[in-house]
């Protein structure tokens, strides 16, 4: 009896002690405390849109805005899915389908996922141009996409791995797509997407990032000119054993210049060249990227001499110094034989045309045509970086005649030839000649072409104008 009592009190004491220990925890935060965290929801669309808010679908300009809808008769193992009706090429409301799904509100914390996954099928076997995520119509800083996604007529699961999940701590761009009828002869079709979500698969491995498509490029660059690194990709091996390559925004990469004082590369992969030679490399998520860009500064690029003629003595087609008349185009992309590409080249705010891959190209100005009766001389500034010895450049001036249109039996042309002696490599030449055409009231075209086997490939063009006087 005595023993029993003692045991009892021991137990009571022990229990009491335990209770005291448990209850003497440190002060907890109040129930009203709200720690600011972003949603870690992975689901985007299962049977309805999940957590996207009310204003979340934004179509691209030029696309058919009504392409997206929720289909309540189709679904992957369910009765609802997202439906995309890609329009016919001649649809007046838009000739392709494309847009983004963006969270209406704060972004999501996607750092714990490793892929965007979805099930998809289509009304026919078809290849979709682009599908991805990270496009928010803002900075699109972490945009990713896969190209040429093959859809079949039955549900298949697709995986788009995240290049580096640690970057997506605040992301609003859940999904984007672009689908046209280039592969279906202009005929529209439908595809469905269901179970769209971010997942942690755990089976994504073997990251192999690349810049410049994995190649070691060498590029001459003029100091002060910005170069953009392209060919930025990330490749993973999926749990299926297949590799998947994605196009990846520059912000996923860490870029390095071998000598930042010679060539500096910023976080967006834009290279500013000062002098000398530097090698640009990169890494993604700590993995070195294959490929590099070696930039050789080749001095500063001089702009064309500033025109000095008074504006009232000039009808200008292209110049920073004059108000230019309307021009239909500076490159007609005349198929099937033209190879010439063109782009605007800017140096210190001064714009010029850069023709590359040159065989022939035309400028056209027919709305209205130019009356060169008084302004009967033509001026060009041309800079050829590499002058081939067999250079034979033909410039043709065409008058469109009374019908003010190309062709029609009333056009007349004047041809002027230039050769290697007219140019110094890398320097601006001034070319001027009088228009000798009998009819020159409706000048509508200037055509530049390689003739007689001339192997000119690239040149810069500026200050194209008609003038009078000296």
């Amino acid at each position: 009896m005595k023993n029993l009592k003692f045991i009892h009190s021991k137990i009571t004491l022990l229990t009491g002690l335990l209770l005291v220990i448990l209850m003497s925890c440190e002060r907890e935060t109040s129930d009203q405390t709200e720690f600011a965290t972003l949603s870690k929801t992975g689901e985007i669309f299962t049977d309805t849109p999940i957590g996207l808010g009310s204003d979340f679908y934004f179509p691209y300009l030029g696309s058919k805005a009504t392409a997206w809808s929720v289909d309540e008769s189709e679904g992957y193992e369910s009765y609802a899915s997202m439906r995309f009706d890609v329009p016919n090429a001649n649809d007046p409301e838009g000739n392709y389908a494309g847009g983004i799904l963006r969270v209406d509100g704060s972004g999501r914390d996607l750092t714990e996922f490793d892929a965007l996954t979805f099930w998809a099928k289509a009304s026919q076997g078809v290849v979709i141009g682009e599908i991805g995520f990270g496009q928010d119509f803002g900075l699109n800083q972490y945009q990713v996409n896969e190209t040429n996604i093959s859809l079949s007529t039955n549900w298949v699961k697709y995986v788009i791995p995240i290049p580096d999940p640690s970057k997506l701590f605040d992301e609003r761009g859940m999904f984007w797509y672009s689908a046209g009828t280039q592969n279906t002869g202009g005929n529209g079709y439908t595809f469905w997407i269901d179970e769209l979500k971010f997942e942690k698969l755990g089976t994504i491995g073997q990251p192999r990032p690349a810049i410049a498509n994995g190649q070691d490029l060498v590029q001459d660059a003029f100091s002060g000119i910005d170069l953009e690194l392209t060919g930025l990709t990330q490749t993973f091996n999926l749990g299926s054993g297949l590799n998947k390559t994605l196009n990846v925004a520059p912000s996923y990469f860490d870029f390095t210049s071998s000598d930042p004082s010679l060539a500096f590369v910023d976080q967006f992969g834009v290279i500013t060249v000062n002098s000398g030679t530097a090698v640009i490399t990169a890494s993604l998520g700590g993995v070195e990227a294959q490929g590099s860009m070696t930039v050789n500064a080749v001095g500063s690029f001089e702009v064309a001499p500033t025109p000095t003629r008074a504006a009232n003595n000039v009808i200008s087609l292209y110049s920073d110094s004059y108000t230019n008349v309307p021009v239909d185009f500076f490159n007609g992309y005349w198929e099937p034989w033209q190879t010439t590409l063109s782009s605007d080249f800017v140096v210190n705010g001064n714009t010029m045309i850069n023709y590359t891959n040159f065989n022939f190209v035309g400028n056209q100005f027919s709305n209205p045509t130019v009356d060169a009766t008084e302004f009967s001389k033509l001026h060009f500034n041309i800079n050829i970086p590499e002058v081939p010895s067999n250079l034979d450049l033909l410039i043709t001036v065409k008058d469109f005649g009374a019908d003010q249109a190309d062709g029609g039996g009333d056009d007349t042309i004047q041809q002027v030839f230039f050769d290697a002696s007219d140019f110094e490599a890398g320097e601006w030449s001034t070319l001027e000649f009088s228009i000798s055409l009998a009819n020159r009231t409706n000048i509508g075209q200037i055509i530049y072409e390689n003739v007689n086997g001339s192997s000119l490939t690239e040149f810069f063009l500026d200050n194209i104008y008609f003038y009078r006087g000296n």
Partner: protein, 310 residues
């Protein structure tokens, strides 16, 4: 008073004891325990922890070199060497490197280690902790061959594949046996195999323990703490030509005795003698196919340890 109290106490003690005994009985009969006992052989007989830097321990390991016969019977592409470029021990790991290089007419080199003539054991637990390489067109393996390989040839000597992997299924590893009549050489007498899917992980992402527990009547295959396959003599399916007939009383028929209508036809369970260990990294061949164009080399197979118990 005292008498009564004593009696009361005795009964209470008896009840208590019975209660305790009953609970113990209940608990021990509990079949809800999900963990399986995978390690029943606990006496360490041989191990290589790969702690000594340099060439692998020559007291345990030999090297197969060259291309064997027809790419070691599988159209494999590598030329095995014992050079330190292809096999070395560093940082506590055995590193087998497959290198893309022109070497004696082959386009790749790699290494294959074996304990033939130096260590073999019948039955017991054989395990290794391995990280497989993640490149395409590779075939890392950890396996055993019957000690009578030179005398009786293959498949008569028997082969136990503890781990085989290929990148086509990065989340799977397979364990198999090959033997006479069930070598995989002819249809339908295929070898016996089963794969284990890691699920939400892939084998090239980290180290895993691969092992077998081998008894006269079964071979258990496990990966980490999961027992994923058990092969027993009755699993072997062979045509009568390769079968071993047993009489009703369980005694094998011989040329002298006539076989009674067989009631028990089994394949020849050759896993009843010592086997030695083979560890290798092959490139290309019938199982993984050739590496992708532009695949990165060298590719490394890492082994943390090899341990054998009985």
């Amino acid at each position: 008073m005292n008498k009564i109290n004593k009696y009361k106490i005795r009964i209470q003690t008896l009840v208590l004891k019975s209660f305790v005994f009953a609970s113990m009985l209940m608990l021990s009969n509990c079949s809800n325990d999900e963990t399986q006992t995978v390690a029943t052989f606990t006496n360490l007989v041989m191990s290589d922890e790969f702690d000594v830097e340099g060439a692998p321990n020559s007291e345990i390991w030999n090297f197969d070199t060259g291309t064997g016969f027809n790419g070691w019977g599988n159209n494999e592409l590598q030329y095995y060497t014992d050079r330190s470029e292809n096999v070395t021990v560093q940082n506590g790991l055995l590193v087998i490197s497959a290198i893309q290089e022109d070497y004696n007419g082959s386009s790749y080199t790699s290494a294959r280690l074996l304990t033939k003539g130096k260590f073999s054991q019948a039955y017991g637990r054989f395990e290794a902790r391995i990280k497989v390489p993640g490149g395409s067109g590779l075939w890392p393996a950890f396996w055993l061959l019957g000690e009578n390989y030179d005398v009786d040839g293959w498949p008569q000597c028997g082969e136990i594949d503890i781990m085989e992997y290929r990148r086509q299924e990065p989340t799977m590893v397979s364990g198999s046996i090959h033997g006479p009549g069930y070598s995989g050489e002819s249809n339908p007498q295929g070898h016996l195999t089963k794969s284990y899917d890691l699920g939400n992980d892939r084998y090239d992402a980290g180290f895993h323990v691969f092992g077998i527990e081998w008894s006269p009547d079964y071979i258990n295959y496990y990966i980490d703490d999961v027992l994923y396959n058990q092969i027993t003599p009755s699993d072997i399916v062979v045509t009568p030509a390769d079968a071993v007939y047993t009489l009703n009383d369980g005694v094998a028929a011989t040329d002298e005795t006539e076989a009674i209508e067989p009631t028990n036809v089994t394949g020849d369970w050759v896993f009843n003698k010592p086997f030695f260990i083979v560890i290798n990294l092959a490139v290309g061949g019938n199982f993984p196919g050739s590496p992708d164009n532009g695949e990165l080399f060298p590719q490394n197979m890492l082994v943390d340890y090899v341990r054998v118990y009985n």
